[in-house]
């Protein structure tokens, strides 16, 4: 595998009630690359993504075993405060979920709660992140409008800016373009390319085309298990498993 390992997952098992959602998942996510998790819906890919910043804690009746190491620290068994672990990972969800605040505060919120209260600094940082996602020019005159007044595509970029604002080194994205129009999704997709110089990006998708376009490393899941994983070029041109082959040919769904 090219590049350093950012996250390594060993024998991760996750049950919700009696349902076995993740089965012996073992994988490595390379630093500063785009890793794509693929698979039909219900295969556990979103759960895998969420377990990386322990949002799975929110589920009731959940049991997790195994290891998730981020730069050598096992986040499942650690004394470190969970909020500071989560801050290292920006989350982008399927549909944009702006906070019930104005545009400016959507980006400033994360900064504020981590203690940055100086107005000048806040303004600078907000502008910086909005520029980073190509949103600044569109919203600079209406920063105090509610975020819900933006278009869906703009909202999703705002959410990306919000995720970046707390200075994470990992970005977790759960089908980030599935609710967007083609133009907005292209913008978001392109953004991932720019971001991978600085960030480790993990994207869950069920769009094969999107996976081919952006992936450096691909993980294919089916019924809670990893069927196959590898470098994107190798994975898409020369899959080893029968299941992967038929998935890539589009025989699923």
């Amino acid at each position: 595998m090219a590049g350093k390992t950012k996250i390594s997952i060993e024998n991760l098992n996750l049950y919700i009630g009696k349902q076995h959602i993740l089965k012996n998942v073992t994988t490595r996510i390379p630093e500063k690359q785009i890793t794509v998790i693929l698979g039909p819906s219900g295969c556990g890919k979103t759960t895998l993504l969420k377990s990386m910043n322990r949002l799975t804690d929110l589920y009731s009746n959940v049991k997790v075993s195994g290891k998730i190491m981020i730069e050598g620290e096992d986040i499942l068994h650690t004394d470190t405060d969970i909020t500071s672990i989560r801050k290292r990972m920006g989350l982008l969800s399927q549909r944009p979920y702006p906070l019930p605040m104005n545009i400016f505060n959507n980006v400033a919120y994360g900064l504020r709660i981590s203690g940055r209260k100086n107005k000048m600094v806040l303004r600078q940082r907000v502008q910086h992140y909005l520029e980073l996602v190509n949103l600044w020019d569109e919203v600079k005159d209406r920063l105090h409008d509610p975020a819900s007044s933006l278009s869906i595509g703009q909202q999703q970029r705002l959410c990306l800016a919000r995720g970046l604002s707390v200075d994470p080194d990992i970005i977790l994205a759960d089908e980030p373009t599935s609710a967007l129009d083609p133009i907005s999704s292209e913008v978001v997709e392109k953004k991932f390319f720019d971001l991978k110089n600085q960030y480790t990006v993990v994207v869950v998708t069920h769009s094969l085309q999107q996976a081919r376009r952006i992936a450096d490393y691909a993980i294919f899941m089916y019924l809670g298990e990893i069927v196959e994983q590898g470098e994107a070029s190798e994975f898409f041109s020369n899959p080893k498993q029968e299941l992967t082959k038929s998935y890539i040919k589009g025989l699923f769904n």
């Binding site: 009746n61 979920y97 019930p100």
Partner: protein, 299 residues
């Protein structure tokens, strides 16, 4: 075979028209209520101005004075106290049950809320007499240096509070449930604690829903009759404190139905009181239900 088909079609027509009739009847019900009560109170409205009836302090049925101000004020006192007591409990519990509680707690609380909602008003009244009235008379009164019987507005408010808790709580739980989980997830990912998510995001998002739930609770409390009647004291006077007895509007109607036919215009006055109750409750309901509807659509 053909005959069979004809009867089938006929039966279907009959069923459908009965369904439609039933539907129209159900929807006309509030209109019927309003018209019926209006017709009965019309003679009184003809004699006396609406504002005199609503805002006059003079209630002397024998001499034809039907000022309802003391009863309206009593009703406001009782309902507001009920909401002040029930509101925070419901809000805190709704957050607890939707955000923090383990499945086992929900399993216990679901039937508890249902049973509480199903207990008849008169039982709450008995409980009020057994527990709340002595409590107010023996503890709250002396605590404030007053000698009272305990039959007071505050007792009425306390009993009402418990009665509207399941009602408000159910709506609040629904309101919090409609807020998408993802909003919590993204906020946690910014480094917020669970409580910060509640404080900064969920409460804001739920705010219109919370207000509506409270106002629905208020209107429910406003019309509650028997339980309040049993503990509130029923003295015709404009109350100036929560520990005084009061005489809310529904209690007035319920207490005097026996003699209302023997005094001229008394029946009109009581039916007018019922009409006032109906109008206030319907207005409150329409406004707050509409707000909830908007919230659920916007999420």
């Amino acid at each position: 075979m053909k005959f069979y088909n004809i009867t089938r079609a006929l039966r279907s027509r009959l069923h459908s028209s009965w369904m439609l009739t039933a539907l129209i009847f159900s929807l006309l019900l509030p209109v019927l209520l309003a018209i019926g009560l209006y017709l009965k109170s019309a003679p009184l409205l003809h004699d006396q101005h609406l504002f005199t009836l609503l805002f006059s302090k003079s209630w002397k049925p024998l001499s034809g004075h039907f000022g309802m101000y003391p009863f309206i004020i009593s009703s406001l006192w009782v309902t507001v106290i009920a909401l002040i007591l029930a509101g925070p409990v419901c809000l805190l519990s709704a957050i607890h049950l939707t955000q923090y509680a383990r499945p086992i707690v929900l399993k216990i609380m679901h039937p508890v809320i249902d049973i509480l909602a199903g207990i008849p008003s008169v039982i709450f009244g008995v409980w009020g007499i057994l527990v709340i009235v002595p409590f107010v008379g023996n503890y709250i009164g002396p605590l404030l240096g007053k000698h009272i019987t305990g039959y007071s507005i505050f007792s009425g408010g306390m009993v009402l509070a418990v009665m509207i808790i399941p009602f408000i709580l159910n709506i609040l739980i629904e309101v919090f449930r409609t807020i998408p989980e993802e909003l919590t997830e993204v906020t946690l990912s910014l480094g917020a604690t669970r409580w910060m998510v509640v404080k900064h995001v969920l409460l804001k998002k739920a705010f219109p829903g919370i207000i509506s739930a409270f106002s629905l609770g208020l209107s429910r409390a406003f019309g509650e009759t028997i339980a309040v009647l049993m503990v509130v004291g029923n003295v015709t006077r404009i109350p100036t404190g929560a520990l005084q007895p009061g005489y809310p509007l529904p209690a007035l109607i319920a207490n005097n139905y026996g003699e209302m036919l023997s005094i001229p215009r008394y029946d009109s006055a009581l039916m007018f009181a019922a009409l006032v109750l109906l109008v206030i409750v319907i207005l409150f309901n329409i406004i707050s239900r509409y707000m909830i509807h908007r919230v659920e659509k916007n999420i």
